[in-house]
């Protein structure tokens, strides 16, 4: 046993030595160094280890000799020898082993070298071929890809085509269902196809675009027929509106459609109803016409019984459709545009009625009873309508006042008519037809009073029957009538004032007519108003002022008349005294009166007869003259006469014309005599002429005037004296 162990130890150490020699790693040969250290743990390490570097053979030998006995030395020697032999053997096997490995490796390398030399070109070839294969492969692959895609595409197309088929048939189907009246189906077709066509119908696809166009046309027709249905069949509005919604009509558009269709419906209805208002245009056409009144009734009934229910129905429909969400909850009361439509319809109804009641043509004025009846009906009907639609404040604003206005306008028109009538009566037309101015004046005055009377009675009746139309402003009504009368009278006064300066005898008529207004008409009107309307006598003296104005105006007309007549006589005198004759060469020797003096008297008598018929006698005295006035000695010198005049009261030759016979006649006479004086002063007369004028003509004139025409009038006397004086002055012979 011991010998085995030592043998192993010994081979291990040898291997290890060899390995270290060949620098092999431990795994291959084992570690000889370790074996040696293990070998002799007790035999003096360092010195005894044969394998260690720097081993000192001498020392080792010395040590052996010192420590060991001979036998042990001998055994050692034998052992060392065997060990050397074993090492050699092992060395040899190792060398061999390595050598054979080396040879094998060399052989391998050699064969490799030969093989590798040809491989490189082959490898390039292979590489090339592989590249070509890859190319071809790519080509094939690409071709195959297109095919595959085409195949997929075709597959899709097949699917689409089948769908398209369906689509292409749609328009016809749709038309068919429309024709059959199945609007609902048509709506579904269009609605379902719409998204698809929206996407594909536009662009370059002509066929689809055609289909889309067809369907759109269909849709248009459908929408149109639906809208038509909306108009013609308002009862199914909700359903139709829903269809329209499905067809994509926007809510606003639908709302507009609904509004316009319902607006048109309402307006048509309104127009039918208010035809009587619109055609006739005003109250005046009802003038005594039963048919006309029936028409108004019809119109009112149309508004109340047709229009109003229709408005209410449409209103509720509208609320249902547009003013509520899906659950039917109201979105806001009255917020819709329908409100505006209704308002406009009502406003035009009110406007038509207003226009109708407000216009009163003077020519065809209705009787007050008719006015009140019609106004009452209109007011009551619209009152009821207002209750239902009280929210439209703007529409109803002023409607009540409008009724009052209508009455006021009516009264105004009445006054206008009255004024026209009075103008006709006051114009003096036809005055010539009567025998005298007096007759025409009294006839005119009477007629004017009559007009006023019947007018006021009519107004009184109207006030009585007025009921709710007039009662609330009864007092103002009286004021209206009163003011109207005053204005009418004032207008007449203006009219008569405008006639001032009209030449001719008609001035006398105007003058007396003014008097008639002042004395009769104005008080009579005031009295009538007082009696009929039971007025307090709280007058502000307006009547008096008015009467005063008329009276003044009468005087102005009278002055106009006087001036006109005076001018006529002046002209006559001038022509015959100045232009026709040269008094210096007057030859006739007669005691007769110069014809112009007779003519003057005749004309004055004519005028007197005219005037006396119209103006009452006042103040003319035909008794023999008192010589108190300006009777003067004709022979006194000019200086004396001047002094005389200075101390005498100044004589107003052309004073204000009094509205008396005497005033008028003396006014005309004075102008005539004054002209005579001027004519004499401009002439020179010979003795015969002096005799003619002074001897016979002037005394004749004085006599005639005093006895027949003006009576005793100091101014006329004075002027006649002046004429005598002028004659004295201008007479050559005297």
């Amino acid at each position: 046993m011991e010998s085995d162990k030592s043998l192993d130890e010994k081979t291990q150490r040898v291997k290890s030595l060899l390995a270290s020699y060949y620098s092999l790693d431990e795994g291959g040969v084992g570690s000889g160094g370790v074996g040696s250290s293990h070998d002799t743990p007790g035999t003096g390490r360092g010195v005894e280890n044969l394998d260690r570097e720097g081993f000192d053979c001498q020392r080792y030998f010395d040590r052996l000799l010192e420590t060991n006995r001979l036998d042990e030395l001998l055994t050692r020697e034998i052992k060392l020898q065997s060990e050397v032999k074993q090492c050699d053997g092992e060395l040899q096997s190792l060398v061999y082993e390595n050598y054979s490995k080396f040879i094998a490796a060399t052989d391998t390398i050699r064969s490799m070298r030969t093989k590798v030399d040809g491989m490189e070109s082959k490898m390039a070839l292979v590489k090339d071929k592989i590249g070509r294969i890859a190319e071809k492969n790519a080509v094939v692959d690409g071709k195959m890809e297109q095919r595959r895609a085409r195949f997929d595409e075709l597959n899709t197309v097949r699917n689409v085509m089948s769908k398209l088929n369906e689509v292409f048939d749609l328009p016809d189907k749709c038309r068919l269902s429309m024709e059959r009246g199945a609007l609902e189906v048509a709506v579904r077709y269009i609605a379902s196809s719409k998204p698809f066509l929206e996407i594909h119908g536009s662009g370059e696809n002509a066929a689809l675009a055609r289909v889309k166009a067809k369907l759109e046309a269909c849709q248009l027709d459908l929408v149109a027929s639906l809208k038509e249905k909306l108009r013609t069949d308002p009862d199914n509005n909700v359903e139709v509106i829903n269809f329209l919604r499905q067809l994509g009509e926007t809510v606003t558009e639908l709302e507009d459609t609904f509004l316009s269709s319902s607006g048109a419906q309402l307006r048509e209805m309104l127009q039918r109803a208010t035809a009587a208002f619109e055609d006739g245009g005003c109250m005046g056409d009802l003038c005594g016409d039963e048919v006309g009144r029936a028409k108004v009734d019809e119109a009112l009934a149309g508004i109340e019984d047709e229009l109003v229910p229709c408005v209410l129905k449409l209103q509720s429909q509208y609320r249902g459709m547009f003013l509520s969400d899906e659950n039917g909850a109201a979105l806001g009361e009255g917020a819709g545009k329908f409100h505006a439509t209704v308002e406009s319809v009502l406003a035009s109804a009110v406007a038509a009625a207003k226009k109708f009641v407000l216009t009163h043509p003077v020519k065809t004025l209705v009787a007050p009873s008719v006015l009140l009846e019609v106004l009452g009906k209109v007011s009551a009907t619209f009152g009821r309508v207002e209750e239902r639609f009280s929210s439209f404040e703007d529409v109803w604003a002023g409607f009540a006042q409008c009724m009052e206005c209508s009455v006021r306008n009516f009264v105004g028109a009445k006054f206008l008519g009255l004024e026209g009538e009075l103008r006709g009566l006051s114009s003096g037309e036809g005055a010539e037809a009567r025998d005298s101015v007096a007759e025409s004046v009294s006839a005119a005055t009477e007629a004017i009073c009559g007009c006023f009377d019947s007018f006021l009675h009519e107004m009184r009746e109207m006030q009585k029957d007025g009921g709710s139309l007039i009662d609330p402003w009864k007092e103002s009504f009286v004021g209206l009538v009163e003011e109207g009368c005053h204005q009418t009278l004032a207008a007449m006064q203006d009219a008569l004032k405008g006639l001032l300066g009209q030449p001719g005898e008609v001035s006398l008529f105007y003058s007396r007519l003014c008097g008639g207004y002042a004395d009769v008409v104005v008080p009579s009107v005031a009295r009538s108003i007082g009696n009929l309307f039971v007025r307090q006598a709280s007058r502000d003296g307006r009547e008096d002022a008015l009467a005063g104005c008329f009276s003044d105006l009468g005087n102005q007309h009278l002055a106009n008349y006087v001036a006109f007549k005076g001018r006529g006589l002046s002209q006559l005198i001038r022509v015959s005294m100045l232009e026709k004759i040269n008094w210096m060469t007057y030859e006739h020797e007669t005691g007769e009166v110069y014809p112009v003096f007779r003519k003057i008297c005749e004309d004055l008598v004519t005028i007197e007869s005219q005037v006396s018929a119209v103006i009452s006698e006042n103040g003319r005295t035909f008794s023999s003259p008192s010589h108190a006035g300006h009777q003067r000695n004709a022979s006194t010198s000019r200086v004396e006469r001047n002094v005389d005049r200075l101390f005498a009261e100044k004589i107003e030759i052309f004073g204000k014309v009094e509205a008396t016979q005497r005033g008028v006649l003396s006014g005309i006479t004075k102008i005539a005599i004054k002209s005579l004086i001027e004519c004499i002063r401009l002439s020179s007369l010979n003795a015969k002429a002096h005799d003619l004028i002074g001897g016979s003509s002037l005394p004749y004139l004085r006599r005639e005037l005093r006895d027949r025409i003006v009576g005793v009038d100091s101014t006329v006397e004075f002027l006649l004296d002046e004429a005598g004086q002028a004659l004295q002055d201008r007479s050559v012979a005297a």
């Binding site: 002046s570 002209q571 200086v639 004054k674 002209s675 001027e678 002063r681």
Partner: protein
């Protein structure tokens, strides 16, 4: 006030006398001695003083003083038979005739001096049937031009346009005829200017287009010769014939009228105007105009005459020989001045 001994019809202001208001008034007495009185307004006492009296042959129907020589004046007078005209020089209390028509122009009515400054040798004499312009500087007076025979009829008055020396207006019965003196042809004719005879015409001294006329129809009219179809102003406040209508020589809006209703009326034609645009833009009717009336006379007032020395003074003469000198009322005056 001043009194003439006999009846009188004519008065004229002495234009050559610049420093005092002086007038000539002449009497018209058929059977008494006639006189021409020179009256002057005494500044301090405001009284009319007689500066001279000249006996005149025949009754004087018109008098006109020379605009350049205060001693020279023309009269139209009736010295038995026809009416003649003569140019007189007042000298030493006597009148010397420097020129007389002596039948060369018959039935004279009015005499008008040429308004041309410095040309006192030309006068227009208006007779019943025409107008003749006399040149006094040559051969003791010759007719330089005249209207044709019978061309004018019954001439009652004449006025020579002081601003357009070629125009003279004559009133013939009821018609106003404006003559161009270069050709003696009618340039503007206003037919029927008055309903009856037009007694007087007067051109405005400050506006060459304005002409005033007064007539037997009691109306006074102001005409604008540029549009003669209608009067610019027509007023009638007199009750009898209007004998004279005279513009104030300095203020064209002042018009004086005299009438046989013994009244003198002063019209402020621009009295409604607030600003200075006076006569041009006034109301055409004149219906609203109210005159200022002077009623001191008691007989027909045949003549009114503005002073040439003072724009606010005028003289009026009535048939009874009463001469009044009046002032424009201060209210009217201030309305114009302020």
């Amino acid at each position: 006030m001043y009194g003439l001994p006999t009846s009188a019809r004519c008065a004229a202001s002495v234009g050559a006398c610049r420093d005092a208001s002086r007038w000539l008034v002449a009497t018209t007495a058929l059977k008494a001695e006639n006189e021409v009185h020179v009256l002057e307004l005494e500044e301090g006492s405001n009284r009319l003083e007689c500066r001279g009296v000249f006996a005149h042959r025949g009754e004087v129907w018109d008098v006109t003083a020379s605009p350049n020589d205060e001693n020279l004046f023309f009269t139209v007078f009736n010295d038995g038979g026809s009416r003649d005209a003569a140019l007189w020089e007042a000298n030493d209390g006597k009148l010397n005739a420097k020129f007389e028509t002596k039948g060369k122009q018959r039935d004279l009515r009015r005499v008008v001096w040429s308004p041309e400054a410095g040309n006192s040798e030309q006068v227009a004499l208006a007779s019943g049937d025409g107008v003749k312009i006399w040149d006094l500087s040559r051969d003791g007076g010759i007719v330089s031009c005249a209207t044709g025979l019978g061309e004018l009829d019954n001439v009652l008055a004449a006025s020579w346009n002081p601003l357009d020396h070629n125009v003279l207006c004559a009133s013939c019965s009821d018609t106003l005829r404006c003559l161009d003196l270069r050709t003696m042809t009618e340039t503007v004719t206003i037919e029927g200017a008055h309903e009856m005879a037009a007694r007087d015409v007067d051109f405005s001294k400050t506006n060459q287009h304005l002409l005033a006329s007064g007539g037997d129809d009691c109306h006074t009219c102001v005409w604008d010769l540029r549009k003669p179809s209608d009067p610019v102003v027509k007023v009638s406040s007199h009750s009898h014939w209007v004998w004279q209508a005279r513009f104030n020589p300095y203020h064209e809006q002042l018009l004086l009228t005299s009438s046989s209703d013994s009244l003198v009326q002063l019209w402020n034609l621009a009295q409604d105007e607030e600003d200075g645009n006076k006569t041009e833009a006034r109301a055409s009717s004149g219906a609203d105009l109210k005159p200022h009336t002077f009623d001191e006379h008691e007989d027909s007032v045949y003549s009114v005459s503005w002073s040439t020395a003072d724009p606010w003074t005028f003289l009026t003469l009535s048939y009874d020989g009463r001469v009044m000198c009046n002032q424009v009322p201060s209210s009217v005056k201030y309305k114009i001045l302020l």
